[in-house]
């Protein structure tokens, strides 16, 4: 099977030839190209080449031209801080005075240069992938973006006490998110990863999700002209599993803090589960540990399809050694072949 066939089969809750592997190594491409992280993310050509090398080295089943989390606040005029050993981070929140939220306008993708490098990387990957490997575009959900736009504290205050302001912010962010997602699909992305950590049960209670994040997700996903995968970026989602299934998403990215077997059951035949290797711990896994952990997850979550092996955050730390990534890949090639055989105790 090609990667595309493998992924489509698991998405239809059937067993493909083997477990699909999404190794979401966003920064390792810089290492492959011998570049600093800042230089690497300066051009779409670099990220496209980096992703192709990651794909060929680790036999992953997707191309993932995700640049960095604060890209979208950069589009709104915010700062990005680059370091040599980690993901670019957001600077001081862009909106310092919340009263200015009512004047906030959504940037247009076509006029925002910083986004064009991402579209370029997707276009280049599309030419190379020839439809055989899914290309995953990324958006930050309108509901989660405000953490970077104005900071978490102010945002929580607005959610709870300033409904008018919250509604305006959501309207602006939704307009941008839909435009941005559809531009990536038009450039050649196969699907969009909808990062929504604030909706996770780690951050807000179910009742608040029902009123806010769920409604925003339903409205936004309905206007994205392609399949979506919702990712909670290490946040828990079991308490809202029944609701996430109603958002129109096809895949859910889950945390290593929740049991993958329980999660698989909760989403069985509804959503495909993506996860849940612990990216932070992965940095110091031995070969034996890597084998054991990968096999354990496969045993619990892979039977009957509807499962893609990945990390729990949507971004593998730069510090994770290539050897660990190679061992993950090797374990999937060996023990991820369907039908999944039971591990000897």
């Amino acid at each position: 099977m090609t990667s595309m066939e493998r992924v489509l089969t698991t998405l239809s809750h059937k067993e493909p030839d083997r477990v699909p592997l999404f190794l979401l190594a966003t920064m390792h491409g810089a290492k492959e190209l011998g570049m600093s992280i800042k230089d690497y993310f300066a051009k779409g050509e670099n990220v496209a080449e980096g992703q192709l090398r990651i794909n060929s080295k680790y036999h992953t089943d997707c191309l993932y031209p995700f640049f960095y989390a604060p890209l979208e606040t950069e589009a709104f005029g915010g700062d990005v801080i680059f370091t040599d050993d980690g993901p670019p981070n957001s600077g001081i929140p862009l909106i310092k005075d919340i009263e200015k939220i009512n004047c906030l306008q959504a940037p247009k993708v076509k006029d925002t240069k910083v986004l064009h490098k991402v579209l370029k990387s997707i276009q280049l990957l599309k030419e190379k992938a020839k439809g055989e490997t899914p290309i995953i575009g990324v958006v930050m959900s309108p509901f989660s973006l405000p953490v970077l736009q104005l900071g978490f504290e102010k945002y929580l205050d607005i959610i709870h006490f300033r409904k008018d302001m919250f509604n305006h912010l959501m309207q602006v962010n939704q307009e941008f998110c839909i435009d941005w997602a559809n531009a990536q699909l038009e450039a050649g992305a196969t699907a969009i990863c909808y990062f929504d950590p604030v909706s996770s049960s780690t951050i807000i209670p179910r009742e608040l999700y029902l009123e806010t994040g769920l409604q925003i997700a339903k409205q936004t996903i309905a206007q994205i002209k392609g399949p979506t995968a919702t990712h909670f970026a290490s946040g828990n989602c079991l308490p809202i599993s029944d609701l996430v299934s109603q958002t129109g998403t096809a895949v859910v990215g889950v945390s290593s803090n929740e049991d993958i077997g329980v999660i698989k059951n909760a989403f069985k035949d509804k959503l495909t589960v993506l996860g849940n290797l612990n990216g932070v711990e992965m940095r110091r896994w031995t070969r034996e540990e890597t084998h054991r952990i990968v096999r354990d997850i496969i045993q619990k979550a892979a039977p009957s399809g509807g499962f893609i092996l990945s990390d729990n955050h949507g971004e593998i730390p730069f510090q994770v050694p290539d050897e660990v990534l190679l061992t993950i890949s090797e374990t999937v090639q060996t023990f991820g072949v369907y039908p999944i055989t039971k591990k000897q105790q």
Binding site: I92, G151, F152, S201, T202, P205, L208, G279, E281
Partner: protein, 212 residues
Amino acid sequence: MDKFKFIINDLERALLTMNHEKAESIVINATSISSPIEIASELISQVLQKIGEAWEEGKLALSQVYMSGVICEEIIEKILPPSDPNRKNQPKMAIAVFEDYHLLGKRIIYSTLRASGFELTDLGGGLTSENLVGIIKKEKIKILLLSVLMLPSALRIKELKSKLSDSDVKIIVGGAPFRFDNNLWKEVGADGYGKDSSEALEIVNKLMEGSV
């Protein structure tokens, strides 16, 4: 502690439903049976600890922990202002976000500790090793609570510790990378790790007793 047993659940309920008025009236009524410092260090501290633990167990969300801390901090400010001589006598303590501007975790710990009667300086976010070394030495900080979001920042705490080898400051860490790797705090040479506000409070209490 027993004298608060009939109101602790009511206060918790008021906080989780964000009923500021109700929470305040419970605390004000408690001043008829107890001193403000006892209310802070026993009643409030216990409620916030319970809420922090419930988050750890996945029963509550971070937004509820945050709102509860902020409400309690505001109430305690009224009955026990920062200048009140009855506030806890303690070594100089500060809190900061290391190399980052994601401030929520720091804010939660800050509120929890202040609402429990502790005084601490908020150094803000985006601080580097150089900034912190200078501040710690100048201000003679004895306990530094450090919040981080990114793994590389967590790893650089090791460098900060080595720059402070001639100081007796205790560094207590917290934040996402430590929550996903239980051994990381030891690897970076921290003196303690609190995975949530309740653990942070527990560690600070132990430090005050000199057992960390």
